[in-house]
């Protein structure tokens, strides 16, 4: 039994609740974008729901789920209790308070600033203070995990860091390096501005600091999914991890390359020289490499599982995998979707080609493949595995659990492929009126928005299934003896191979140098230019 079980569950329940609310907001947007005349459809409602969906799904669901999973993975793989559990509870309380503040501001229409909260769109101070508390809470959680790990290191001198914890330490390092940017933006710029202490704000500086955080945020979401893919799913499939050192190499590469990449979100922004944008574009293309390695290693681990069941052919092992087990099918389907998302990401990061799709529907199509499926569906899959083990209850509504990943997969294909195509045809993202004031070019988008809405309906049905299974299991599941949480063994024990990959301080040092190289000069250059600032605007 996990000692930090209640702490992990508290985080999971906040995540699942946020997911349910965000999913309802998503259905409204999908139907609204297809111009379906919903009775409550107004621009104000549309943009409120876009903000709520983005913040609750991308920031609240993910962060709380990652924190809950972190407690489970750390305690189980280090085989020792979590240290500083009171700090863990205090951090959870802070993060929850921040969530409630931000959610209040959004749902009461006082923070319609979208998930990127770019100024000069201005929100109620409660939104920014809530976001700050969420980040501070996550730093507290980070310290609990780091402290537990360092205690284990002292107790086990010379022992190899277990791979799941190696992945989680990487996650925490990426998160801390990333949140320096957003902390500076929120504390130094947004909170004083929203409280009226400063009259004007520098939108370009705010955007630079946001994307210092905003892209590595993607890897804060993705790395725990990789921990699941590398260390849990191969075991669930009945196999072994193909290569432990390759997995460690992937995690380390993310420490180096996650942060000095943010300008690829700002290719069309003024205020940053082309050379710096090209440098960030170059770094972003490199980050495709660890994801390719991950695709190879995890599929190879699944192939081990199929071969262990006696399959000898090129592809017959695929049929031997447990496709009826939602803990497996969720991850396998999320990997297929991620493969498509990787292709789109290479277009986004290409300096010239980005202009084809910048701020179009392609972008929302892309990140629903990556965070919306590779991450979210993996989290849902592992929730099916973990919840019975943490609650001591059997998984309820198992038929819904089995079909849910496939519904998500189908819905996401319809939603995202149609958004990629309408984006290429020029349809902007984040618009309320898809006819774009009667523009002729908008006629090309009609079929796509209809298909996208159908995808949205399937996704909503899938989300309902997930939430029903979770609450059904957690509160009405039949009591059962909890089973152990197990990790995949590697095909070959790593022993002393590539021990340098466990020396995090070396990688942190190099990462800091890269971040300084990527940001110090362009920020300095921007601060040295005349800056006039902007007043705040609240359209609703």
């Amino acid at each position: 039994m996990i000692g930090a079980r209640r702490l992990a569950l508290a985080n999971f329940w906040v995540a699942i609740t946020a997911f349910g609310v965000a999913a309802a907001m998503a259905l409204m947007q999908a139907l609204s974008r297809a111009d379906l005349a919903l009775p409550w459809r107004t621009p104000k409602m549309y943009y409120l729901s876009v903000t709520a969906h983005g913040v609750l799904m991308a920031l609240i669901f993910t962060t709380f789920f990652i924190m809950g999973l972190g407690y489970v993975v750390t305690e189980r793989s280090l085989d020792r209790p979590i240290k500083l559990r009171r700090v863990g509870w205090a951090s959870f309380g802070l993060a929850l308070l921040g969530t409630l503040l931000a959610a209040w501001a959004i749902l009461w229409g006082k923070a319609t600033v979208l998930y990127t909260f770019y100024p000069p769109l201005k929100a109620h101070p409660a939104f920014y203070i809530g976001a700050a508390l969420l980040v501070i809470g996550s730093w507290g959680w980070s310290w609990v995990i780091i402290h537990t790990y360092l205690t284990w290191k002292r107790e086990n001198p010379g022992a190899r860091t277990p791979l799941p914890v190696h992945g989680y330490m990487t996650t925490i390092i990426v998160w801390i390096l990333a949140t320096i940017g957003v902390a500076a933006e929120v504390v130094l710029l947004l909170i004083p501005w929203s409280l009226g202490i400063t009259e004007k704000i520098d939108p370009i500086l705010a955007r630079i600091l946001f994307w210092w955080f905003g892209h590595p945020l993607v890897y804060f979401w993705l790395l725990p999914a990789y921990v699941i893919w590398y260390t849990m799913t191969p075991r669930i499939a009945g196999g072994k991890l193909f290569s432990d050192p390759l997995a460690r190499l992937v995690f380390v590469l993310f420490i180096l390359l996650s942060t000095p990449v943010g300008f690829h979100h700002q290719f069309l922004d003024p205020g940053v020289r082309a050379g710096w944008k090209f440098f960030h574009s170059f770094n972003t293309q490199w980050i495709l490499f660890p994801s390719f390695v991950t695709a190879f290693t995890v599929i190879a681990s699944f192939e081990v599982a199929g071969r262990l069941k006696g399959k000898k052919g090129w592809f017959d092992w695929l049929g031997a995998l447990p496709w009826g087990n939602p803990a497996f099918s969720s991850v396998a389907l999320s990997m297929i979707i991620f493969a498509i998302g990787g292709f789109g990401g290479a277009i986004n990061a290409a300096y010239g080609m980005n202009a084809m799709i910048h701020n179009t529907a392609w972008v929302q199509g892309h990140f629903h493949l990556t965070v919306g499926t590779a991450v979210a569906l993996s989290f849902m899959g592992i929730a099916y595995y973990l919840l019975p083990r943490l609650t001591g209850r059997e998984l309820e509504l198992s038929l819904l659990a089995r079909i849910q990943p496939y519904l998500w997969f189908m819905g996401m294909l319809l939603f995202s492929v149609s958004n990629h195509l309408t984006g290429l045809a020029g349809m902007p993202r984040r618009i309320y009126q898809f006819d774009y004031g009667g523009s002729e070019i908008a006629d090309q988008w009609v079929a796509g928005t209809g298909i996208s809405a159908l995808g949205g309906v399937l996704l909503f049905a899938s989300a309902l299934c997930f939430v029903a299974v979770m609450f059904g299991t957690g509160f009405a599941g039949k009591k059962a003896q909890p089973q152990p949480i197990e990790f995949a063994e590697p095909l070959e024990t790593p022993n002393n191979k590539a021990q340098i990959l466990d020396k995090f301080w070396i990688w942190v040092l190099i990462a800091v140098v890269l971040i300084m190289a990527a940001y110090a000069w362009p920020i300095g250059e921007h601060l040295a230019t005349p800056r006039f600032g902007s007043r705040g605007y609240s359209p609703f």
């Binding site: 075991r235 669930i236 499939a237 009945g238 196999g239 072994k240 193909f242 069309l268 390719f292 695709a295 190879f296 599929i299 190879a300 699944f302 192939e303 081990v304 599982a305 199929g306 071969r307 262990l308 069941k309 006696g310 000898k312 052919g313 090129w314 592809f315 092992w317 695929l318 447990p322 009826g324 087990n325 803990a327 497996f328 493969a339 990787g342 292709f343 290479a346 277009i347 010239g352 080609m353 202009a355 084809m356 099916y384 595995y385 019975p388 059997e394 998984l395 198992s398 659990a401 089995r402 290429l424 059962a480 089973q483 197990e486």
Partner: protein, 54 residues
């Protein structure tokens, strides 16, 4: 759904000969499709539209 089904099982004494030829084939085909898709977008969409010049 039984816990054994969720956890999966493994028979680690079984033969895994031929591994990882299937994975190499899948990843190889993906790599080809990836490159092909990128080139299609580059030559059929990006080049005809032209790059932004300012």
């Amino acid at each position: 759904m039984s816990d054994e089904e969720l956890r999966g099982s493994s028979d680690l004494d079984a033969d895994i000969g031929g591994h990882p030829k299937g994975t190499l084939a899948i990843v190889g085909v993906y790599g080809l499709l990836f490159a092909l898709g990128w080139l299609i977008l580059y030559f059929l969409v990006f080049v005809p539209r032209g790059a932004l010049t300012q």
